[in-house]
Subunit: 430 residues, 2 copies
């Protein structure tokens, strides 16, 4: 690598523009730490004249990022557009084929095409770095690849999405309903203004789970169908009831090797208010790992936003400038194994079930009888009448049961006149 490094930044949204400013401000520090002088020689976005937080150098602006490869000599390219396919993939592919190192926070791209792209990077002997794709400013990928290298990790889980964690925390704190808090999150820039769906339905957290699994267990990125649930069905009522039970609802991403099979999931969990994970609130993210011989390791930090994301993008840049490791997933892609999926039907949890029922005799027993038939034993039951409307809410906390058993058991409640809606199910984290 020369001592002068040419950089291109493609994508000048909130993150891209913040990064550009950081790169300009920290040139001297970067030279001190790596011995390399960086030069930003090309920037690209759709709209040259859009109003931005920091000024851009329009003389190096490209509306078509693919033109950069033809006109400029680039050493390192930042892809900060953010789609899993289309122009994002095209740019990364082209860069790697041209022996240009790539840095990206694009979890959708890596979760979908990470195996192919890492092979391409290795073949062309350049880096593909994506620290910012998981848990924002928390250097979790580097920690797995380097800080905990050679530990046998059997579980990684945590709060991987700042948007949903903010919404859950805010609902509990303000007693406002989901839609109202979502609007607030959008106003504050914590949720996407136009289409927040990918955060809310668990998709974003799930992409991060896939990347974490591949790194922690040295496997190919899995494509298995998994249990993926977001917070879009969480009701303020459940948050209030959880509160009374000394519990709190958190959207957890979980990846675990169970009998040499990979289990990945994202769903809301009820966790103890006294637990560590129950106290990671607001936009914070946290990742917990179990490894041998290190024991339990926890990392916590801000999970989103231009500042934390830029911190991770710059750590990737310094790693490349220092000539550090090349393998995007820690070991050669060819050596990463395909791993068999754990059968989701056998996933086992205690359950929180909320039934909204007509307040009349026999309804409770019809529920408990059904549970008994499926050998789901009840740990706790709370019935709260709503006399005025002749209704009642029945909360049941069960002992452990499998997904398939719970599904079969509950199926009957779809067509029961005394049960006003299909019961809400939230798993307890164990």
């Amino acid at each position: 690598m020369n001592n002068i490094i040419n950089i291109a930044v493609v994508g000048l949204g909130q993150i891209g523009i913040y990064l550009l400013n950081e790169l300009n401000r920290k040139k001297d520090e970067i030279e001190l730490k790596t011995g390399k002088k960086i030069r930003i020689v090309a920037i690209s976005a759709k709209n040259k004249n859009k109003k931005r937080r920091f000024r851009i150098n329009k003389r190096i602006f490209y509306s078509n990022p693919l033109k950069i490869f033809k006109e400029k000599k680039i050493d390192i390219l930042f892809e900060i557009i953010g789609m899993s396919d289309g122009i994002s993939k095209k740019i990364v592919e082209t860069a790697l084929k041209n022996r240009i190192h790539v840095i990206t926070p694009n979890k959708a791209l890596i979760a979908k095409h990470g195996d192919y792209l890492s092979g391409l990077a290795e073949k062309n002997k350049v880096n593909l770095e994506f620290e910012a794709s998981v848990a924002g400013g928390i250097p979790i990928l580097r920690t797995i690849k380097e800080g905990l290298a050679t530990n046998q990790i059997n579980k990684v889980y945590g709060i991987l999405n700042g948007t949903t964690n903010y919404i859950l925390t805010e609902m509990e704190d303000t007693n406002e309903n989901f839609n109202k808090v979502l609007e607030k999150a959008q106003r504050l820039g914590y949720a996407e203004p136009i289409n927040p769906k990918l955060d809310l339905n668990g998709f974003d957290a799930f992409a991060k789970v896939r990347i974490l699994s591949a790194l922690a267990f040295n496997n190919k990125i899995s494509k298995h169908k998994c249990i993926m649930e977001g917070i879009d069905n969480i009701d303020l009522k459940d948050i209030k009831i959880a509160n009374q039970l000394n519990l709190r609802i958190k959207l957890l991403g979980i990846s675990e090797m169970i009998n040499n099979k990979l289990f990945e999931t994202v769903h809301p969990c009820l966790v103890s208010k006294d637990s560590y994970i129950g106290n990671v609130n607001g936009v914070m993210n946290a990742v917990i790992m179990h490894g041998k011989p290190v024991g339990e390791n926890v990392l916590q930090g801000e999970g989103a936003g231009p500042g934390p994301t830029s911190s991770s993008l710059l750590s990737d840049l310094l790693s490349i400038l220092r000539g550090n490791i090349k393998k995007p997933f820690g070991i050669p892609t060819l050596k990463r194994k395909k791993v068999k999926p754990f059968n989701n039907n056998n996933y086992t949890n205690s359950l929180y079930l909320r039934f909204e029922v007509k307040d009349k005799p026999g309804v409770l027993s019809s529920i408990t009888n059904r549970l008994a038939k499926y050998k789901i034993s009840v740990k706790r039951i709370i019935q709260t009448p709503d006399k005025k409307n002749n209704k009642a809410t029945i909360i049941i906390i069960t002992h452990k049961t499998t997904e398939i058993n719970a599904k079969n058991c509950l199926s009957i409640f779809k067509k029961n006149n005394n049960i006003l809606k299909f019961p809400t199910l939230i798993r307890l984290y164990n």
Copy 2:
């Protein structure tokens, strides 16, 4: 670097022997991750025939570690003896001068001679790695050097000593006094069996603070006189009272830049039971950093023991085998600045003061008058009589005041007939 790497392990105590076993077990994985084959070609300890947890290869055993340099070609040496000077320093020096990479968990050595040794490593173009010297299995040094590279850190603090944290937790949980719990800690291997002083008096945590400061703020390791207090004067009574106040006592190490001056300290703190740091219990360590732009970052993990320590030693090994960064403190030692010390007298805290007094009129007012004279205002006061012995305990929580003011104010209580012992002072963490 060749593809075959010769390794020497000097020091075969609990950690050395565990590491040796890990190296043997993980040869294939290390080759997969780095492309290098490791060979252990020399081991050294005082006593060849001591009973050890794992068997050693006596054909490569040296009673005198310095002989290794003459008889074997070594690429990487592990120094795991653990003294700040003497043979530990001699071995590390000799290795670096012979262009041998060094890995060590020896915080006393690095805190005292780290600047000199890092200069030596840089001059000879080899690595000096010491991830295991701070916070056991938590990859905190790598995180500062790499994962958070280019962040402007202004504060690093946390629980840096597992022994003392275990003792404090155990005293609270069992209501047993300091000496009894210390004995238990020694039986369980959490405290040094013969001389546990360096853990208990804060010295061990302080060495870690010095190393963290140097990395976080890019300064030379400071030699300033600082406030260093351990837990050896913590009474079960204080733990019980803290408990009633919803507080908990934690031994914190703190390093902070205040107006471009370095403030380092280790002392017991009263922290809220509802705070994150108040819930890091037992042998766990935790480090919290404030950085720009990343925000707050937290790392938590097991702080001591052969497993976590080996995890960090192996991460150092992989870093070297992958050819990663060379500068022990992230930037060239010559560029690391000397930094001015913050004046300890100006350190400002709310204080918890416990007075043991004769139960007679006028005693309380003599205390409050004295505080008033020094403009130390009282936030809370709790007097508990011990009628039988005609004594009383007075707890005072003050508003913020400086170290020097508190010291001057309290000095009078050394010679007061009504005050049975010099008051216990514990700072509140703010």
